[in-house]
């Protein structure tokens, strides 16, 4: 248990950090994706920039509403695919034509045509690893501590609640005002969450 306690796994119920008064932000809790989207638009119009929404499933159009840039994952995966392709050519040429050449049935030691299947397979293999590891890295996962989990109703975000956080690092952040704003927008449970 000691090791896990030190890891501060917040969903295990021991997440609150002691001492200094640092806050993650204010989190509000909405009934439907439509309510959440309306809240995001209003809050953005009011000039807040450090927002985060937490939802049980991806919501169409939320990135545009939050002003999020496109994910760079495609570029990462393309790089991995090219790496896989190069590795496959290098592997087949080096083993078959350079390191230990063996003539089989008078065929060339290296040719592109019979190398295509493995070139394709290794491109796909490295792309898949690039997509998964790239996604996890961009999302900074695994991340077993996050102040979000200090919100008492954080579990709703993986069930049927649509949460909106206005983070304390936002230049316009004023906990009382932000709380009032989210409540007026229809939040059922608004809370100032510790970092």
């Amino acid at each position: 248990m000691g090791l896990l306690d030190n890891l501060k796994l917040p969903f295990l119920g021991n997440g609150a950090s002691g001492g200094e008064q640092k806050y993650y932000g204010v989190i509000g809790d909405f009934d439907t994706p439509e309510d959440l989207m309306r809240a995001i638009r209003t809050v953005r119009t009011a000039g807040f920039t450090k927002l985060e929404a937490y939802t049980p499933f991806p919501i169409h159009g939320i990135d545009e509403a939050m002003g999020e840039p496109r994910s760079p994952l495609g570029k990462i995966v393309f790089g991995c695919a090219m790496l896989g392709l190069t590795a496959a050519v290098a592997l087949q040429w080096w083993t078959g034509a350079w390191d230990y050449p063996v003539w089989v049935a008078g065929k060339p030691l290296f040719a592109i045509e019979p190398s295509v299947p493995i070139m394709f397979e290794l491109s796909v293999l490295l792309s898949a690893f690039g997509a998964v590891i790239g996604m996890l890295a961009l999302n900074k996962l695994p991340q077993y501590y996050h102040p979000f989990f200090n919100y008492t109703r954080a579990a709703g975000a993986t069930n049927d609640r649509f949460l909106l956080a206005i983070e304390a690092k936002d230049p316009r952040f004023q906990s009382d005002e932000v709380k009032l704003l989210l409540e007026n927008l229809g939040s059922r449970h608004t809370e100032l969450v510790e970092a």
Partner: protein, 462 residues
């Protein structure tokens, strides 16, 4: 409600989540399966499956300690049940990837209730398939040096990359790895759901660690959705390549009956056909065992029956084409190979194959049969059998009578052949039942996404 029932869109697109469920109902229904003790029927099925899996391990142990002579393979039939079973299992896996990747790219929303279980089925089928090439080497602990380009002290040689068997090694291992990654990425948000619902500390810890601390933030979903789309995009050509490469094992040889350019598309269609049959077999059972009628609706099952009908027709057409080409080639060896299939000593295998694969799916022309659970269950079993016989017919009837009548033979399986095959079915069912018991068998977050768009269109949003 009345005006909704008259809406012509509903006639074309019946609701995929029925019973007026909310997001919380979906979470509850699917998570509860993993949280509550399993029904008695689960224990019965698990017991039988585990017993059969033990038979597999006993047969493999006997094979490793004795030698591959315990199988019935012998000259002239050097490949028999081992490769038949291998191709059969790999083919079954293809439906999982088709559902998770190809139907995703085509925006077929009905895939969401069945994709998780179908992907799990893919993984377990690939695991069963891999047993055969690994153990047919006789010394599986050395197989890694023979199959993969590993620097080693045994051989002082590299693999021949001009051989389709090497392409197969790369295709199957890539396919297994990518399927596992795709499946796990899909699981992450649902594991987080299980973590947040956990009643005991141990469940909280296990699912907390497995879900990597997923929070479901909009930024996380952004990268996640793109990763999912990319995985679907690369899995689509991958799944088509895998069975094409499996068919190259045969097609690039110079044996009459194998040396055929039609093989790649014919094998891919057959793989999807057999895979959907296995999905229907498993889904009808899982749906009945866990009462999932509102999530896996008759509409889902009917769509799968349509896929079986279409791919069954493609397979039937390929059988006909093979015969036409054998006749049209005017090659006496080619013509003999095909006559021998129909009327030779293995005629019974050929006609079993035709009955199960070409005749059985014709019932699916009728809506009544497409929407009847007992009919589709029985027909799916027939198709599973028929597709096993297809591989057996292609492999064994082409080998047992080659160019010299003096070396003709007849293949008989041994008890170890049978035990190994039945054993892999046991292993497959054991793994599948464990999956149903411990992991969310339906993609919770994806079903909620479908439910959301369904609620929007019911409100007339679109």
């Amino acid at each position: 409600m009345a005006d909704i029932a008259l809406d012509p869109r509903l006639e074309l697109n019946p609701p995929l989540v029925t019973g007026g469920q909310t997001y919380a109902d979906v979470t509850e229904k699917i998570s509860a399966i993993t949280e509550n003790p399993p029904p008695k029927i689960w224990w019965a099925a698990f017991g039988v499956s585990l017993l059969l899996a033990m038979v597999l391990f006993a047969c493999l142990g006997y094979l490793v300690t004795t030698g591959i002579g315990v199988w019935g393979n012998n000259v002239p039939v050097g490949w028999a049940w081992d490769i038949t079973n291998f191709v059969w299992w790999i083919g079954i896996g293809h439906a999982g990837t088709l559902i998770s990747a190809i139907l995703f790219l085509f925006r077929q929303k009905w895939r969401t209730s069945i994709n998780r279980a179908a992907e799990a089925m893919t993984l377990f089928a690939v695991a069963c398939a891999a047993i055969y090439p690994v153990f047919h080497t006789g010394r599986p602990w050395r197989a890694v040096y023979w199959l993969f380009p590993m620097p080693n002290e045994y051989l002082h040689l590299w693999q021949n990359f001009r051989s389709p068997l090497m392409w197969d090694v790369f295709a199957i291992s890539t396919y297994g790895t990518v399927s596992a990654l795709f499946w796990y990425v899909g699981l992450i948000p649902d594991l987080a759901t299980l973590r947040d619902r956990a009643k005991t500390r141990i469940r909280q810890m296990i699912f907390g660690i497995m879900s990597f601390g997923w929070r479901g933030s909009a930024r996380q979903w952004k990268h996640y959705e793109l990763a999912y789309l990319i995985l679907a995009g690369i899995s689509t050509p991958l799944v088509l390549s895998v069975h094409s490469i499996v068919s190259f094992d045969f097609a690039t040889s110079v044996l009459p009956g194998w040396h055929t350019t039609i093989f790649p598309p014919y094998f891919v269609a057959g793989a999807i056909f057999s895979g959907f049959a296995m999905v229907v077999t498993l889904m009808t059972l899982a749906r009945w065992m866990y009462k999932l009628e509102n999530l896996i609706t008759l509409h889902h099952l009917e769509n799968m029956c349509k896929v079986m009908l279409a791919t069954g027709m493609i397979v039937g057409f390929a059988y006909g084409t093979e015969f036409f080409i054998a006749w049209y080639s005017a090659n006496p060896f080619e013509r003999f190979a095909f006559q021998n299939r129909l009327f030779g000593p293995y005629w019974w295998a050929y006609w079993t194959m035709v009955s199960c694969n070409v005749i059985a799916p014709q019932f699916f022309w009728f809506k009544r049969f497409r929407r009847s659970i007992p009919v589709m269950f029985v027909l799916s079993i027939f198709i599973n059998i028929g597709m096993w016989f297809e591989r057996f017919v292609i492999i064994v009837t082409s080998l047992h009578r080659d160019f010299l009548p003096s070396s003709w033979g007849y293949f008989n399986p041994t008890i170890i052949d049978i035990g190994t095959f039945v054993g892999t079915i046991g292993l497959f069912m054991t793994l599948f039942l464990l999956f149903l018991r411990f992991l969310p068998a339906i993609a919770i977050s994806e079903v909620k996404g479908v439910l959301h768009s369904q609620l929007q269109s019911e409100r007339g949003g679109h």
